[in-house]
Amino acid sequence: MRLTELFERGEFVVTAEVGPPKGINIDHLIDEVNTYLKDRVTAVNVTDNQSSVMRLGSLATCKAFKDEGIPPIFQVTCRDRNRIALQSDILSAAMLGIDNLLLLTGDHTTLGDHPQSKPVFDLDSVSLIHAVKQLESGVDLAGNELVGEPPKFAKGAVVSPCSDSVDVQLAKMEAKVKAGADYFQTQAVYEPEKFIEFMEKAKQFGVPVMLGVVIPKSVGMVKFMNANVAGIHVPDHLIEELKKDKEKTKAGITGVEITARIIKECKDYCDGLHIMALGWESKVPDILTLAGL
């Protein structure tokens, strides 16, 4: 089931992100997804060597999920593959019946665990979306015809609504829409006012936007994100809230409460929700319940 069809029906789509392990055994991951996510989210979004750290492939993991009856979203970044490999992997996904994509530029290789590697970036997120659109029209990026029926995808993209230069991000969003993006998921939001303001401006593009949330796990984590992660700003009052009750914060209760509150404040302004639990998948059901979803 393509996410686009759900958006068209007016459904509030909920997805969660998971990262494949650094190894070949995914039993644990499948257990977690079955236990905490399967019946609560529409689809599970599988990262592609997230933060440039080498892991099991997103496509193989997506296939394993699909076999378990868990609808997957295949994340594809431009960092590690040239346009031939990218198109080939995307066709492979279609052949396996995986028709939800999230198309990204990707973090630079220097930020990951193989800083010596050659960053590819043959395409960027915009030209990758364009390439997938070409495939859907029955030709590849070079204009050669595909044999048989062309694939059809829900083509997702990302945007940072709380970026310190949101105008630059909106310009990029527009370029992605022009290239053929069908839906967006956002970088983590901690400032609902900023998100709502952003949605006012993003409305003009007429594509569904899913609110992105990252569960704040600890004071250390949010301080790290504030210093290092682009497009994320955790305001002081939330840091105070995390500091206040150490036990509650340690148990994840404060993080769950904050996340649910943000979702509640934003959900009327967007079309779906994307939860990045970063290992705290077990908290996802509580968050959804508390947010009334």
Partner: protein, 210 residues
């Protein structure tokens, strides 16, 4: 426009095995070559290793010129086990091609020397990418000013206007956007999707004697 830099003494010593013939190219005007350091290092090496001859010439990347220069040394070259070339990568390849049977090693690393055009150092970079995008970007080069050489806009990694790869570097796309904004040309960003073309417009391969 490039720069040649000597490899470390240890690295070079490990290359100079057996009788070694050294060729230095003191370069062409587009190249920086560390002549004095090479001189010093080779003197040191000669004290420890069997360096049969050190030849210093220019333009060894020109095959005919190289042949002419090497002519009177050919006995010594033939006698050597190893030929160590201190020059840019093109020079080393030219020597290796000419001395087909020899173990030819490079004593240097070659880096592009950005910002040089003609003989005047400039503060700006051109990666000679083949399809100039400056007309879309307010004259700020997206290939060299952006760490990922993106041509369709900013990635999600910029923070406080700085690049995700290097916090001391301004995000190139932030610069491009601000420049276009200042020029009142933000409309330029609404051009159709650009896909980079890496196909070489010219055939640079040498056709000598083939």
């Amino acid at each position: 426009m490039l720069i040649t830099q000597l490899k470390s003494k240890d690295a070079i010593a490990s290359l100079a095995q057996g009788k070694t013939f050294v060729i230095n190219c003191h370069g062409c005007k587009e190249v920086y070559f560390p002549e004095y350091q090479a001189d010093e290092l080779q003197k040191e090496l000669a004290a420890e290793k069997d360096i049969t001859e050190i030849m210093t010439r220019d333009y060894i990347c020109n095959p005919d010129h190289l042949q002419l220069q090497l002519e009177k040394y050919m006995d010594k070259v033939k006698d050597a086990d190893t030929v160590l070339v201190c020059s840019c990568g093109v020079g080393v390849q030219t020597v290796a091609k000419y001395l087909e049977e020899k173990r030819v090693f490079s004593g240097c690393d070659t880096y592009p020397l950005p910002g040089f055009q003609g003989v005047t150092p400039q503060e700006l970079d051109c990666a000679q990418c083949g399809e100039c995008y400056l007309n879309y970007t307010g004259g700020v080069c997206p290939i060299t000013a952006c760490s990922k050489s993106l041509v369709n806009g900013q990635c999600g990694g910029s923070k406080n206007g700085k690049c995700e790869v290097d916090k001391d570097m301004e995000c190139g796309w932030e610069r491009i956007y601000r420049k276009l904004e200042k020029l009142n040309k933000l409309d330029t960003l609404k051009h159709p999707t650009k896909v980079r073309d890496y196909k070489k417009p010219f055939d640079f391969s040498t056709k000598d004697g083939e």
